[in-house]
């Protein structure tokens, strides 16, 4: 790989990130008009999460051997985080293709489109996150000072979603069948990741299913501190490791293929 590609990619990323006013405004505009014409707007997602939490608690807390007070906050926070991950990843293959007109006719940095896509999902996440304090208060959970670590976890999660959007955005621009692949992959991911079930449900030999899952690690390092729990021993190392590896892969992919995106879209 030539130094030129790396330098151009770094310039693109630097000038993209510095245009905060641009990607934030575009993301805000996306969110604003996506729900125009519906009565509850983006509250639908929040309401959906709240309702799902209620139903899952009534049905599953028994079989999973957990009290309502233990299960409901666990699943509510899990679902809010999962929705963040799932919507970002499912939109990621469209990050560049969806802005083909702009990319083909204007020299604005490509990183704008990545930051816009992630920021749009962060805005929706912030909206859904109102469920978290409600459920914590409802079940009398007083956040431990270590809950601050959850914010560090959230930062790691967001960085990973930026990396993933770069990688999936490039793939989605080159191969148009990434989008349907993502839909089924995300469904599978939801079932194998301890979001509505506890990792303790896995027997010793199955423990790797959670331990090897970077999405679980990233959710765990946000959720466990908020609940006053300790994340699984593997979670922090995995979360930090995948952040570094993901960023490196995204940077390499961006440096190598960035200049081709204008031809692909």
């Amino acid at each position: 790989m030539s130094g030129k590609g790396w330098r151009a990619a770094a310039d693109d990323f630097a000038s993209g990130t510095s245009r905060t006013w641009l990607w934030r405004a575009l993301a805000w505009n996306d969110v604003k008009h996506r729900y125009s014409g519906s009565v509850l707007g983006s509250l639908w997602i929040t309401a959906n999460i709240a309702l799902l939490t209620l139903c899952l608690t009534l049905v599953f807390s028994g079989p999973l051997g957990a009290s309502h007070g233990r299960y409901a906050p666990y699943v509510a926070i899990g679902l809010v985080l999962w929705y963040f991950v799932q919507s970002t990843l499912s939109e990621a293959p469209n990050a560049f293709v969806g802005q083909a007109e702009t990319i083909r006719h204007s020299p604005l940095p490509l990183s704008i489109q990545v930051l816009r896509a992630v920021w749009r999902n962060i805005l929706i996440f912030a909206h859904n996150a109102v469920v978290i304090p409600i459920v914590l208060v409802a079940f009398g959970i007083v956040p431990h000072p270590s809950a601050v670590l959850g914010l560090v976890g959230l930062l790691l999660l967001s960085v990973n979603l930026v990396s993933a959007t770069v990688i999936l955005g490039l793939l989605g621009a080159r191969f148009r069948d990434i989008q349907p692949v993502m839909t089924s992959a995300l469904q599978l991911l939801f079932f194998v990741t301890p979001i509505v079930w506890f990792p303790a449900a896995l027997s010793g030999r199955e423990g790797w299913i959670a331990a090897a899952n970077p999405v679980f690690a990233l959710i765990d390092v946000v959720r466990a501190p908020l609940l006053g729990d300790t994340p699984a021993a593997t979670s922090w190392p995995m979360a930090i490791g995948v952040t570094i590896a993901g960023a490196a892969l995204a940077a390499a992919g961006f440096a190598r293929f960035r200049h081709r995106v204008a031809y692909w879209v």
Partner: protein
């Protein structure tokens, strides 16, 4: 001082047909022992060949040539959309590419919001746009529609809005691909006046168009492109004349 220079620029355009875009084909090629290369074996078309251009303050260049000669691709390469594998492009000065109408338009957003969206895609921050809004609204005569979503506008109204925003802040280097001619007839005269003031304030203009009168009006110099190469260069009147003569010769 603005400056735009291209030296030895050549560009190959990859052609992706549907099978090259499929991951199944891609995987099969790998499995069957093909060369595993994300680029694959791609068919390319040479779209620009060895372009040398040097533009300075006051230059008004017309790009002339038949469809597919490479005019639009050359403009996009000047803008920095495509990075040539061969040769260098250097720019000095704020550059505005008007290569497609309405980059950044959102049909769900209101007219007013679209003024800001269009501006942002021209790299104008909302705080830079705010003082210009009144003038834009007045020029377009769309005042009563500003609060309505753009999808309720007619094509002509959208074009007027896009034109007014695109021409609200003269850059140093201006690249135009023929779309400004699309403003509806009633607005042509008004549009020409606005355009004259806009172009007058820019240092360098490059304009691609099929309309000889438009080229003659805005440009002083011209290059004729054919098959991605510059085949002729000179005063715009001379080039238009030689193109006209060639067309007449073909017709005879």
């Amino acid at each position: 001082m603005a400056h735009l220079s291209l030296s030895g620029v050549s560009l190959d355009f990859p052609i992706y047909h549907s099978s090259a875009r499929s991951m199944r084909r891609f995987a099969l090629r790998g499995a069957l022992g093909g060369k595993l290369n994300l680029e694959g074996k791609r068919a390319t078309v040479a779209v620009l060949r060895n372009i040398d251009l040097e533009l300075r303050d006051g230059d008004r260049l017309a790009l002339i040539g038949p469809n597919g000669a490479g005019k639009s691709i050359l403009l996009r390469t000047m803008a920095g959309v495509y990075e040539p594998e061969c040769g260098t492009v250097s720019r000095l000065g704020r550059l505005t590419p008007l290569l497609s109408h309405g980059i950044g338009l959102d049909l769900e957003a209101t007219g007013l919001e679209n003024i800001f969206l269009l501006g942002m895609h021209l790299d104008l921050q909302p705080r830079q746009m705010r003082p210009k809004v009144d003038e834009i609204v007045e020029w377009t005569e769309l005042g009563p529609f500003m609060a309505a979503p753009l999808r309720t506008y007619s094509a002509g109204m959208i074009m007027r809005l896009a034109f007014a925003v695109s021409t609200c802040a003269p850059p140093e280097i201006l690249l135009i691909d023929e779309w400004l001619g699309l403003v509806d007839a009633a607005f042509q005269q008004k549009a020409h006046q606005r355009m004259a003031a806009f172009v007058g304030d820019t240092s360098i203009l490059v304009l691609a168009s099929h309309a000889p009168d438009l080229l003659g009006l805005w440009c002083s110099e011209a290059v004729r492109l054919e098959g991605g190469s510059i085949v002729e260069r000179g005063p715009v009147a001379d080039i238009l004349e030689s193109v006209g003569a060639a067309a007449a010769g073909d017709a005879a």
